[in-house]
Symmetry: C2
Subunit: 234 residues, 2 copies
DNA sequence: CAGTGGTCTAGACCACCGG
DNA sequence: CGGTGGTCTAGACCACTGT
């Protein structure tokens, strides 16, 4: 009845445990046997069971805490992994030639909403860059970006006329924390003209804020051309 | 400052390596020293270095292959982890009472687009369910769902009048693979009425398809009320 | 073919925290 | 307090794959 022979690698142990979880052997919130017991049961080292349980915890199936043990979590959709490709790579993957256009570049004092969002002193100097990414003749994504000059003084010297701030920043500046927000917006007049759609059209927007060691680095507002989809599989 | 002292845990080794990577000690695509060498250098066991490098690979910073070694990957935005909360939990987290309304429930033959999407024999019997999730009086999310009856025969007996198919399926059916697509759509007449917005309003849509062991289980089309944002931090 | 990462083992110590 | 998971070590074998 064991069927699964004898689990030998951590993947097999994980599979065996997952099967038992699916079979409701332990109810929601119940405690699984301690690692040592499972190790003995399966005839493997405790570290192997640990690896298997760590994987299940990573996937959100169980919750582990010292002393409290390993508990079954209520079912939830599995966390998905969202790959954030470089715009250029993304466009080139479609086969179309990548085109980049710089629309504006100016140094200014951080507007109120930006200071608030980044936790920046009001009026701190930032570099604002607006540009357009296109797949051949077709607009792909409009980018509006604000770079904190205190954090990235070198940006003052970067022209951004051939390389997008997106790409430049990735190479020039280390990041340590990123927040991404996805929403839907209606095209205003400017976006409509840029992306070649009617005013009011539904567009997908990604906003990304980046920090490094607690200090804000940059904020980007990326608006995608219609039809754009973010797809993740797992 | 603490200095890097001598890295002792795998986290410290990871941090030390990351610092060296950020300092461009190894160029893009270059090979890092083998685990054994790093272990000797840091005075830790090879398994510890392995853990640290595995973490960096997980984060997309390096690429590891047997025999080929560990190589520096070109910079890219870090993969984000997208948590997919249960709608009910999400609503309740706002403090508002969760309301659920069943709008339609009917067995029908899979329409063409659905068969194509799921890789289903054309005309296969599916159960279609439409419902609305709300936060108190405010509409939160419209859900349209198709359940493959061959995969989930028990759905025929589920009324879905109190428990959403979302929640029911999570408990009743094991999944093994999920694909999520996020896009922006303009509200059609039906959605506008349901969500209480003007026709043509920009709405965020999540489509989720679920398989189990290669066989399609269900497809959901979730349309969120205006203002909804998907936020992920990491 | 040989060097690399991937994994397992057995044992150990420790941090944490629930009772 | 004592049981639990978290981690480290030293050593070993193996799978894979570039050269």
């Amino acid at each position: 009845m064991t069927g699964a022979a004898r689990p030998s690698g951590w993947r097999e142990v994980r599979a065996a445990l997952l099967a038992r979880l699916r079979a409701r052997e332990w109810g929601e919130g119940a405690r699984l046997p301690p690692e040592a017991a499972l190790a003995a049961e399966y005839g493997v080292a405790r570290a192997t069971v640990n690896r298997a349980l760590a994987a299940l915890a990573e996937e959100g199936v169980v919750d582990r805490r010292r002393r409290a043990g390993t508990r079954v979590r209520p079912p939830a959709p599995p966390p998905a992994r969202l790959a954030i490709p470089l715009v250029r790579a993304e466009v080139e993957a479609t086969g179309a030639p990548y085109r980049y256009t710089l629309l504006a570049r100016e140094e200014l004092a951080a507007p109120e909403w930006l200071s608030a969002r980044l936790g920046l002193p009001s009026g701190a100097p930032v570099l604002h860059v607006a540009c357009l990414h296109a797949a051949g003749p077709a607009p792909w994504q409009a980018e509006a970006r604000w770079i904190v000059l205190a954090a990235v003084p070198a940006a003052r010297e970067a022209p951004f006329d051939r390389v997008s701030p997106n790409e430049w920043l990735l190479r020039a500046v280390p990041y340590s924390e990123v927040e991404t927000a996805i929403s839907a917006v209606a095209a205003d007049a400017r976006l409509a003209a840029l992306l070649g759609v009617a005013e009011g059209a539904a567009l997908l927007r990604t906003e990304r804020t980046t920090w490094h060691e607690g200090r804000p680095v940059t904020h980007a507002r990326l608006t995608h051309a219609p039809g754009y989809r973010i797809v993740t599989r797992g």
